[in-house]
Point group: C2
């Protein structure tokens, strides 16, 4: 990220930083992404509206650029660890750091493009991680992409719940809970070994065939 911006004219670097900060502020203050327009952003950033178009095509473009900056650190961690290692709470710590931002962006008033990209990025990272760690030629029970998207969705689901409840738990606790639920399954999560028996019509979920 620093590398990406270092080459820019300091004026341009400053302008982009101002626009980025203005957008972040507006998202948090307004609690809504959709209705934020270029006029407001440039007014907040104290930058000419014309200048905005010299750098970005629209608000989404600015958002994605901002996103790249925000994610630089978490990407670095992933690359260091060969992926999203289980029990690693970096994602949740990252979410906690920008909680006010994510609370809006993951909500009803956020951006579908943003959420979608986060989901796809998670799924991709998870799949790469699983592929690296599984023995060569190993045949998985279920299609690996399905498992990856399942995990990515579950991760985001927990994050949404966590954010909407003002992060009553600390990042490490939630990360551990989500991982354990993922690895151990639902029966463990609710604390009932004979969970299937309690559910109705679940004969075909016998869990031991396959």
């Amino acid at each position: 990220m620093t590398d990406r911006l270092a080459r820019l004219d300091p004026r341009a670097r400053r302008t982009r930083a101002l626009l980025r900060d203005a957008l972040m502020e507006l998202i948090v203050e307004r609690g809504e992404y959709d209705s934020i327009n270029i006029k407001e952003i440039t007014a907040r950033a104290d930058v000419s509206r014309t200048t905005f178009y010299l750098h970005f095509t629209d608000v989404d473009h600015l958002l994605f650029d901002t996103m790249r900056d925000i994610y630089a650190e978490i990407i670095a961690v992933f690359e260091q660890n060969d992926g999203p290692v289980p029990g690693d709470a970096h994602e949740f710590r990252h979410i906690a750091e920008y909680a006010d931002f994510y609370r809006v962006m993951f909500s009803e008033r956020g951006s579908s493009a943003f959420l979608s990209r986060v989901h796809d990025y998670f799924a991709e990272q998870i799949q790469h991680f699983l592929e690296k760690r599984l023995p060569d030629g190993h045949q998985t029970t279920l299609p690996l992409p399905l498992v990856a998207h399942f995990m990515a969705g579950a991760q985001i689901g927990v994050m949404r719940w966590w954010l909407d409840n003002d992060q009553l738990l600390d990042a490490d606790s939630v990360a551990t809970m989500a991982d354990k639920l993922m690895y151990n399954g639902l029966a463990w999560g609710v604390g009932l070994d004979d969970l299937n028996a309690i559910m109705c019509g679940v004969d075909h979920l016998a869990a031991d065939e396959a």
Copy 2:
């Protein structure tokens, strides 16, 4: 749904149906929700733009009304079954029926409000279901809302993957896979009992304490 509309003047009923259909068509054809405007919808529906405002405040309002219609059937199934019973593929069959619609709405070019509402609705239904089926006074290992949002997110994650791959599997297969992965856990899903051992630094995921 029929009840809700039955009271309306047939002219109003007709108008709303035309607007609803026009919106659905435009979403599918355009492959994008954001850029659809009222002018287009009314033109497609062959209805005056003024009339639109007699029924809805904006496009989102129309979308949510449409959503309620679409969900009428699946809600009926839930109420019949006391919730989203495991192994029940109604959600996936429903998604399959409106696949072209959901493929857009769950995508980068969909609506965050729509996705968010679906997620929250799933989580709510799942939580109610679990609460009903668990023994009275039972202490769950993890907070029930966390489990519910985990499951809701996972469900949507699988749906997104399924839709983006043009539903190569049939609805019942995917539903079963998602349920099994949920109940049996990740180790079963990838077909490795000693999964934790393969992962690095997972001592704290020992899975048996708690």
